[in-house]
């Protein structure tokens, strides 16, 4: 029997790893993608929206796309880094031009519309800062009943990357993250604990190079672009952070999952934007998140490669 597809809104700031996450989601029969929403993060919301349009053109994903607001909810945005994803937010190979215009709605309006119209519950896959999702929950808390779960790439229970304690996506907009983690909705959190282990090595990239289809042709170049930076800071490959937030939905068995109470530090001198996980259950707080702590790296790469191969069959 075929299981019911997982309805998803893809909310992100593409971004090489967001893009790869979307490529895999589109190719996986378990997902029914309803919309893409762009958020300010790795690059500006405008660049993220434009990149979203071009990714959708590449993978033939014909769904509404909308741009989120330019800033976090209550603070100024950090300057987007250009050494990781490049000036465009998605540097590397030339992508096809957009085939579908941006919606005349903002990201939050589009999310509201999709949730209102959907008869079934919808999962939000959020792979950038949580500004759009936080805003949605503030504006329309009643729509929580339409949200199945939120699968996030963000944070880190043991450590950060942008500061010692905080990961970039959460650091950009800790207040939105706080709203999301306190929402009571089921949350999958793919933080640095798992995503820094979700590595695609230069050897894996060689395998993808052998796949003969236009998507594979782009993906290996993204990966090459993306691991250049990571090799310089000592990684043996590129961590495909955002793909964890997708694969945990259709292949949870490849992850080491731990339920715990996670709280966001919204103040702090050294720890603003840290995701504090009560891994040893010191507080009596009920778990509010399922945290990904480890991954079977080989399976992770296998599912990624498998998905990329699907684009050969279409033509």
């Amino acid at each position: 029997m075929i299981k019911k597809p997982i309805n998803v809104i893809l909310d992100g700031d593409p971004g090489h790893d967001d893009a790869i996450a979307w490529v895999v989601a589109k190719a996986s029969p378990e997902f029914n993608i309803l919309a893409c929403t762009a958020v300010n993060g790795n690059c500006s919301a405008a660049k993220a929206a434009y990149n979203s349009q071009r990714i959708c053109a590449l993978i033939d994903l014909n769904v509404p796309i909308a741009k989120g607001q330019d800033k976090p909810l209550v603070i100024e945005s950090l300057k987007a880094p250009t050494n990781i994803h490049g000036e465009s937010g998605l540097d590397g190979p030339e992508l096809p031009l957009p085939e579908r215009e941006l919606e005349d709605l903002t990201a939050v309006e589009l999310m509201i519309k999709i949730l209102e119209e959907s008869k079934e519950k919808v999962t939000i896959v959020a792979t950038g800062p949580l500004t759009n999702v936080g805003a949605l929950l503030l504006v329309r808390p009643d729509l929580k009943e339409k949200i199945e779960q939120i699968s996030i790439m963000g944070g880190g229970i043991k450590h950060g990357n942008w500061t010692a304690a905080a990961e970039f996506n959460i650091l950009i907009d800790p207040d939105s993250a706080d709203i999301v983690f306190k929402s009571g909705l089921p949350i999958f959190m793919a933080g640095l604990d798992v995503t820094e282990k979700a590595l695609v090595t230069p050897k894996d990239v060689e395998e993808i190079k052998q796949i003969d289809n236009p998507v594979a042709e782009i993906v290996w170049q993204w990966l090459e672009f993306f691991y250049q930076f990571h090799l310089t800071i000592g990684y043996p490959g590129a961590p495909i952070h955002d793909l964890c937030a997708v694969l945990v939905l259709n292949h949870p068995e490849i992850f080491d999952l731990k339920e715990m109470y996670v709280e966001i530090e919204t103040a702090g001198e050294y720890t603003k934007g840290a995701t504090i996980g009560d891994i040893n259950n010191i507080t009596a707080n009920k778990p509010n998140a399922t945290v990904l702590m480890d991954v079977d790296r080989e399976k992770f790469v296998e599912y990624m490669v498998e998905a990329i191969k699907c684009y050969s069959e279409v033509n």
């Binding site: 229970i157 043991k158 450590h159 950060g160 990357n161 942008w162 500061t163 010692a164 304690a165 800071i233 109470y261 709280e263 966001i264 530090e265 919204t266 103040a267 702090g268 001198e269 050294y270 720890t271 603003k272 840290a274 504090i276 996980g277 009560d278 891994i279 040893n280 010191i282 507080t283």
Partner: protein
């Protein structure tokens, strides 16, 4: 002869440490008031209040401190809160005064002391043979402004982000077998 200044909270574990140190021919316990120009080591197992007070009032001694061997803090997970350890949490402000000073600190945190029978003995074993401890140079600061992270010892040992100063050594592993052998020989 190693001179050590002890800042120990009253406890059974610390009583055992004290009696063992007194037996060591190569270690001399010193009173802070008797120190002239000589170098000395500080061992703390308890809140960092007393050491912070010394740093504020007798800061000329700072350069004479070879290192502070501190039992407390944690690399990531705490015991009083999800991220804060008892000795730091007891006086967060003083702890940060010590960590933000230029003094070299070796931190025997919960991450390695959780499984020790008596964590107070770790600094003494370290003085006898530092080679059984796996350490890494890093920056460590104490969060005094956080809502959920109050008292967290924030280290860059696992993060891509690196502090400018690596003034601390964090203990990441201990050779338990050799640790126990040394304790038996004391």
């Amino acid at each position: 002869m190693k001179k050590v200044f002890l800042s120990l909270e009253k406890s059974k574990d610390n009583d055992q440490l004290l009696s063992l140190i007194k037996k060591q021919a190569d270690i001399q316990i010193v009173d802070i008031d008797d120190i002239k120009d000589e170098k000395f080591t500080v061992i703390v197992n308890g809140p960092l209040t007393q050491l912070a007070d010394i740093l504020m009032t007798r800061y000329k001694l700072i350069d004479q401190i070879e290192e502070v061997l501190f039992v407390g803090g944690t690399d990531a997970y705490g015991d009083v809160t999800p991220v804060a350890e008892k000795n730091v949490y007891a006086d967060v402000f003083s702890a940060q005064q010590v960590f933000i000073s230029t003094v070299k600190i070796v931190m025997f945190g919960l991450n390695v002391t959780r499984n020790l029978k008596n964590r107070a003995l770790a600094p003494l074993v370290y003085l006898k043979d530092p080679s059984i401890f796996v350490t890494d140079e890093c920056g460590i600061y104490v969060e005094t402004k956080g809502k959920v992270t109050y008292g967290k010892t924030v280290t860059d040992v696992y993060s891509d982000f690196q502090f400018e100063e690596h003034h601390c050594e964090i203990v990441l592993d201990i050779n338990k077998e050799r640790f126990n052998t040394i304790i038996k020989s004391l």
